[in-house]
């Protein structure tokens, strides 16, 4: 039997339906891959017995014909999704040994659709980071290496484990979350496909919060179709999440292969600043050319406040995070470091339990919300956020979808000095992705090419709110013949 882990979800599903192989066989193949690639540090918890038990049930369902849309498909779950009875840590020391007694809505829907859980995937601690290096469990290693170097490269972040695991065929697909680029950027670094849907498309219930007004779950998978299949299962209104949208979810798969003749694709001038990496600039041009070939109309647009998005993001996200992470106090779950008085217990537990980047953001967030600074920082950032959103609304009067690069760089070596020394340098990697979160829009990263070093580069498609369909349509056009 050929390597089952090379199959896309769509292909594997066909094989399972035709009984070419069983879900148990498929799952075993992935378990082998997962174990063989432990050096990548993509999984922080492996749950092979759970996956196999679920696979057995799936095989029975296929036999009875009661299979769900992801029946028997082994997935990896970012360790930010609470999974009932399965340790969930957000890759933070402070959640040591935490076993949620509840299931996140998204993982619940995936399980309902028949998927099985191979294990929990590594991420930047509390999803705060752009290289997966802030994880308490250590960095994820990108399966790709540069041609002329043996150096281990970052997988991107925060969903580094998800992107690497998919890229190395350690799971058929993975869940990710994206607050400022955390699905799209690692997908680009690892050469896989990932979509952050519109804010409100997927329920946040049971996903450990980083920045509530920006966090959104989405899939990372081997191709566009697999993303559509997974998102079909993940999306939908959830009364348990007041910010989830009561809007019908279309069949995303149905958009694939649709004609893009006459589709207006916006190209924002601000995404091509002076000094943009030439290879990335070229990749973008290639993407533009490819869409043009297929009849799309290219439209120049302007998103004038783009340059302020990162600064606004690094006020809003830490502010929300400082509050969201207040619950980790050593009292009800996770790590407790004793202290004489309650406050000492809080301080000791939090000081030991949180890593450097998380502490940095908690403190920034606390400061920008504190008395006397709220207006100057937080309120100002929210006003700029509105301007950024309005930029997109205006731009979408002229176009149907926007094409940009996903990240300004390719994967860089683990421990990169400039990033370690100055956190802002790391943050700048999100320059093309954060605006999308601030505006609440859907965005997808596609592995459109490689650089001279053979490292994957991604292009990003940005859609109107709740118009992931157009993204899928455009993405499938962009990726035709590529595969």
């Amino acid at each position: 039997m050929s390597d089952l882990t090379k199959l896309t979800i769509a292909e594997a599903r066909e094989g399972l339906k035709k009984k070419e192989f069983s879900s148990v066989e498929l799952t075993k193949a992935y378990i082998e891959k997962m174990e063989a690639n432990r050096k990548l540090n993509a999984f922080v918890l492996e749950t092979p017995e759970i996956a196999l038990a679920q696979a057995k049930i799936s095989d029975e369902k296929y036999a009875k014909g009661t299979n769900g849309i992801l029946e028997g498909i082994p997935l990896g779950i970012k360790d930010l999704f609470c999974t009932k009875g399965i340790r969930t840590t957000a890759c933070s020391h402070i959640l040591d040994g935490f076993e949620p007694q509840y299931e996140s809505t998204v993982t619940g829907k995936l399980l309902e659709a028949g998927a099985s859980i191979l294990g929990k995937l590594n991420l930047d601690e509390f999803a705060m980071g752009g290289s997966n290096e802030t994880s308490y469990y250590g960095p994820v290693i990108n399966p790709h290496k540069a041609k002329d170097s043996d150096a281990d490269l970052v997988a991107g972040g925060s969903s580094g484990g998800s992107a690497a695991a998919v890229a190395a065929d350690m799971c058929a697909g993975a869940t990710g979350t994206d607050t400022g680029g955390s699905i799209r950027q690692p997908a680009a670094f690892c050469g896989v496909t990932g979509i952050k849907p519109t804010y409100g498309r997927c329920s946040r219930y049971g996903i450990i919060a980083f920045a509530s007004s920006l966090d959104q779950a989405g899939p990372i998978a081997k191709d566009v179709r697999d993303c559509a299949i997974m998102l079909n299962a993940m999306a939908g209104y959830d009364p348990k999440d007041s910010t989830s949208a009561k809007i019908a979810v279309p069949d995303f798969e149905s958009f694939l292969g649709q004609n893009i003749k006459g589709l207006k694709v916006g190209i924002p001038a601000e995404y091509r600043p002076d000094g943009l990496n030439a290879e990335i600039s070229k990749l973008w041009d290639d993407g533009i050319a490819k869409l043009k070939e297929q009849g799309a109309e290219i439209v120049d647009i302007s998103l004038p406040h783009t340059k302020y998005a990162l600064a606004a993001y690094y006020i809003i996200a830490p502010a929300e995070a400082s509050s969201n992470l207040a619950r980790y106090d050593g009292l009800r779950y996770g790590l407790r470091v004793p202290g004489e008085h309650l406050d000492n217990m809080y301080i000791n537990s939090r000081t030991e339990g949180f890593g450097k980047e998380v502490k940095r953001r908690i403190m920034i967030g606390t400061y920008v919300l504190s008395a006397g600074y709220y207006d100057a920082y937080y309120l100002k950032a929210q006003k700029v956020r509105r301007l950024i959103r309005e930029d997109f609304i205006k731009a979408f009067e002229k176009c149907d979808v926007i094409l940009t690069p996903t990240a300004p760089v390719a994967a860089f070596p683990i421990g990169d000095k400039s990033m370690q020394e100055n956190p802002i340098n790391m943050w700048l990697n999100d320059v093309f992705t954060v605006s999308v979160n601030l505006a609440g829009l859907p965005g997808m990263s596609l592995p459109f090419g490689v650089n001279a070093q053979g490292l994957p580069l991604g292009l990003q498609l940005i859609g109107k709110a709740f118009d992931e369909g157009t993204i899928f349509k455009t993405a499938s056009a962009l990726m035709t013949e590529k595969k």
């Binding site: 040994g97 935490f98 076993e99 007694q101 804010y199 007004s213 009364p239 007041s242 910010t243 949208a245 009561k246 340059k307 302020y308 600064a311 606004a312 690094y314 006020i315 400082s322 207040a326 050593g330 009292l331 009800r332 779950y333 996770g334 790590l335 407790r336 004793p338 004489e340 008085h341 309650l342 000492n344 217990m345 809080y346 301080i347 000791n348 939090r350 000081t351 949180f354 940095r360 908690i362 403190m363 920034i364 606390t366 400061y367 600074y373 309120l379 100002k380 950032a381 929210q382 006003k383 700029v384 956020r385 509105r386 301007l387 100055n422 956190p423 802002i424 601030l438 505006a439 709110a465």
Partner: protein, 95 residues
Amino acid sequence: MAIDNETVKRVAFLSRLKIEDDKLEETKEEFNKILNWVEQLNEVNTDGVEPLISVNDSNLLLRHDEVTEGNQADAVLKNAPQAQYGYFTVPKVVE
């Protein structure tokens, strides 16, 4: 707005984090660097702009007043570092 060591200490306490004295200076400098950087927002004219608090345009939907959860003290206490008689316990709180 450059901040001083006292502010760093105050913010750390509000965050219930400890910064060792020998890290104070370094933390302050990094803090100021970040604040300087985000202050580029001051270039943006936001006169008359309403702050955006939610990208979701719809209104809040409400839940029916029904008891749907409870009688699960074991599950609630399952992960507690310390619990006794069905309560979470902590070092004595001095009011």
